[in-house]
Point group: C2
Chain length 213, copies 2
DNA sequence: ACAAAATGAATGAACGTTCATTTTATACCG
DNA sequence: CGGTATAAAATGAACGTTCATTCATTTTGT
């Protein structure tokens, strides 16, 4: 029995492990959207992933871990978007485009998923941490974009970028929730109106009402 | 055994039935907030209501019915608030006060509850109907209040009241969700900033930038 | 005497997770 | 090349709970 020792063989098909994980996350996302986080059973997710329960648990230690996985993946995508936005010449324009991109062009399932996660975050410690992480990232990114706008003249000086980011974030969440609940809701008019108002108060100075120093 | 017949006695302590129902709804609300809709067990709700399971089912036929009951009750409360708002002289002021009232002064548990219901509405037919009913009512009420503002001069003419209502509603939902998830979040600065921007675009005409006809 | 009100143990289904087992793929040796 | 050893990959039945709902029975109020 005793064979030499540690011949070792850390075999594992090079990228196969990552592939399996995305395959599982895709299946989980589908199930969570369709049935909700609590009503989706692991067996359903296993079936959707074309895989046995025992094997799935080799890649994710629990149902909660699946949410974590999904969030991390989506967050990565958002990071790219913001990186582009910071390079734009009119940042309010690009913020509006991003809103439309996430709230309208994205498949509605994603919005349902995020809504689900937000609700879950109100009482699930682990999910709450993830949600805060995402929130902090978005607020920071939007504030950065606005600061960039101030630097390049597309946004008025002296505004509180953090507070404005909070505002836009709340609007985003509200529309997300609405569209998750009402598939027929078209968020584009609301987005256009919202950004028009934001431009009114953030846009480059309209030269008016200056207290002479 | 055969006693006369139908001596009948539709006894039931006059208001007792309604009392029991509110008692149950209060208990259910507490549990839903603390554990979430799916994780709250009927046995917990029964215990909180000080009542056996069998008896509870005499008043509500299912767990879903409890959600319906809670929604209907809260909707009644909101109706009163809007009725007052319509009588105000500065409607934007009163809308801001209502936002603070619902998003800050109200116990956070209510916000958690509504968030829970919204998420559930994304996939539960019955809850979705209720949610739409509430949404329609709020949009209509806010639009009415704005129309009243136009009538009494506190809101600029020519705006699209329905679209503005949609905007405010989305903002409301977003803040609700944020506060449900982050107990320490203080929504008042965001509300103040939001309403300042709304005033900028809806307030009585600031006499400026008029294209001479 | 009687029915409404209330009880709470029982029921049966469903769930997340585990584990003893089998399959698959590769590395090593002759 | 072929055979064997090895461990990773994968299986799926089983486990122990938990839960919404029911119902035979008792209590209460008139």
């Amino acid at each position: 029995m005793n064979v030499h020792f540690i011949p070792a063989m850390p075999r594992l098909a090079p990228q196969s492990r990552a592939d399996r994980r995305t395959q599982i996350l895709d299946a989980a996302k589908t199930c969570f959207v369709r049935f909700g986080f609590h009503n989706a059973s692991m067996q359903q997710i296993c079936a959707a992933a074309g895989m046995s329960a025992g094997n799935l648990y080799r890649y994710f230690p629990s149902k909660d871990a699946l949410i974590e996985g999904i969030c991390e993946r989506d967050l990565g995508g958002a990071a790219e978007g913001f990186a582009e936005a910071r390079r734009a010449s009119d940042v309010l324009d690009v913020l509006e485009k991003m809103l439309v991109g996430y709230l309208w062009r994205r498949p509605r399932e994603d919005l349902c998923m995020w809504t689900e996660i937000s609700a879950e975050a109100a009482r699930n410690e682990a999910v709450n941490r993830i949600n805060r992480h995402i929130y902090d990232f978005i607020i920071k990114s939007v504030a950065d974009v606005l600061a960039q706008g101030i630097a390049n003249g597309s946004v008025r000086k002296g505004i509180d970028t953090h507070r404005q980011a909070t505002l836009l974030q709340a609007f985003f969440d509200g529309v997300m929730l609405r569209r998750a609940v009402m598939p027929e809701f078209d968020p584009r008019p609301a987005i256009r109106t919202m950004m028009a108002q934001v431009r009114g108060s953030l846009g480059p100075v309209a030269k008016k009402k200056s207290k002479p120093k």
